[in-house]
Each structure stands twice: as structure tokens, then as C-alpha cells.
């Protein structure tokens, strides 16, 4: 199960809507081993594409170095699909490389840049196997 606070949940959706029709992507970091998504980092989609995303390689290194310095790990890795459902594609599955992370997918296909509900779903992707999990949105993460 993914437990995420409302502000972070809303910020991921806002990012996805803002970048529509291109895919948006980013990370929510948290203390190693805590499973707490605490610190949202919006990343630039270096592919700038409606069907593909990729973190810029230099920014990727900066991100990881910062997380290592802070004893953090990527708790959530998110991206949007802009014309299809919020389910991992074959590409998503093939390239998933953080077995400990929650892979969040948001679909902006219904409302694009406008207000309106979006699909927000979470998965574990380990060794090519996808397992959907429940998403619980809380006002604040409990200490």
C-alpha cells in the first residue's frame, strides 16, 4: 500500500496537468527504509514527449547524490500517461529499476490541462512483474 499526504498527491496531479500533453515525471524521496514519501522533486522530462519520459542524465546524478547525502531513497517514482490509462506500459515495466519504489502513474487523458478528476494509481514493479497496490491519501503522514 502507498500512503501519501494530500499536499504531495495534489502536487503530483498539478504537475501532470501542467505538463500535459507531454508526460510529467518526478520522484518523492524519503528516509531510507521508512517508506515515507516526504520530499517531492519534480524532474524535467528530457524526452519532452507525449509518449515517453526520461530524467536528464545530469539531473539524475544530482538527484541521487542529494538523496545519498540525506540518507534518502526514491520512495515514489511518478510519471503521467497523457492519452492512455494509468497502467504501466511494456516500456515502463522493462525500464523499472527501483524494486523498492512505488511506481505511481497518473493519467491526464480525460481532462488534460483542465480541472477534473485524474486516475492516480500505484504499482510495485519487480523483475518485470507488476502488482497494483492501494493508495491511501492522508492529511499528514503520521510520525
Amino acid at each position: 500500500m502507498l500512503t501519501i499526504d494530500r499536499a504531495t498527491y495534489d502536487a503530483i496531479i498539478a504537475h501532470a496537468k501542467r505538463d500535459h500533453p507531454d508526460e510529467a515525471c518526478g520522484v518523492v524521496a524519503g528516509p531510507e527504509g521508512s517508506d515515507r514519501p516526504e520530499r517531492l522533486i519534480e524532474m524535467v522530462n528530457a524526452a519532452g514527449s507525449p509518449t515517453f519520459y526520461e530524467f536528464d542524465s545530469t539531473e539524475l546524478l544530482e538527484l541521487y547524490k542529494e538523496m545519498w547525502d540525506r540518507d534518502e531513497e526514491p520512495v515514489v517514482i511518478y510519471h503521467s500517461h497523457t492519452a492512455t490509462e494509468a497502467y504501466p506500459s511494456r516500456t515502463d515495466i522493462g525500464l523499472a529499476s527501483e524494486p523498492g519504489a512505488h511506481y505511481v502513474l497518473v493519467s491526464t487523458r480525460d481532462h488534460g490541462n483542465n480541472d477534473g478528476p485524474v486516475e492516480f494509481r500505484s504499482y510495485r514493479i519487480v523483475d518485470g512483474e507488476v502488482t497494483e497496490e492501494e493508495v491511501t491519501v492522508v492529511d499528514e503522514l503520521r510520525n
Binding site: E23, S89, T91, S97
Partner: protein
């Protein structure tokens, strides 16, 4: 010569869980061969044919090796090498 190589989570099955290992080599290609001698199978995950895999990033002292010669990038004692899988995907 000792070069520290930072190993990403997904490849730590090859290093017995170690986050970083040391290896030797005057070029990235030689370093990867040396890594593979001690951690068999890891080379396959980094290289495809004669090149680095498209979705594997390797940095030498914070420089993406694609900009400094790729597998021919020169290494010297004390260099720091980081391996990071790309974070990528998409609807297709």
C-alpha cells in the same frame, strides 16, 4: 590503482548487497571487465554489443561518460565512478 564504483540497488545482487566496490582499469571498458571478474554477470547488465546500454548511465567524477569517450573514457587512481539506471518509461 583503486577506483570506487557506486552500484545501484538493482545491481547489488551482483555485489553481495554492497553499495560500492573497488575495481581497476585504465579505461571504463577495462574497469567493467575487472568488475565482471569479481562480480560475474554485471558486465552483461551494463554493456550491449560494443556499447553501454542505452538506459544505463555511467559517470566518472560526475561527468556522464557519453560526453567523455564512452567505454574508452580514461580512468585514473582515485576516480569515482557511479552507475545509475535511467529513470525512464512512457506510454509506448
Amino acid at each position: 590503482m583503486a577506483i570506487e564504483v557506486r552500484i545501484p540497488t538493482i545491481l547489488r545482487t551482483y555485489t553481495g548487497g554492497e553499495k560500492a566496490v573497488t575495481a581497476d582499469g585504465a579505461s571504463l571498458s577495462a574497469l567493467i571487465d575487472d568488475l565482471d571478474a569479481n562480480h560475474p554477470g554485471i558486465k552483461e547488465r551494463l554493456i550491449e554489443g560494443a556499447d553501454l546500454r542505452r538506459f544505463v548511465n555511467v559517470y566518472v567524477n560526475d561527468e556522464d561518460v557519453r560526453f567523455i569517450g564512452g567505454l574508452e573514457a580514461e580512468l585514473s587512481d582515485g576516480d569515482q565512478v557511479v552507475v545509475l539506471p535511467a529513470v525512464a518509461g512512457g506510454a509506448r
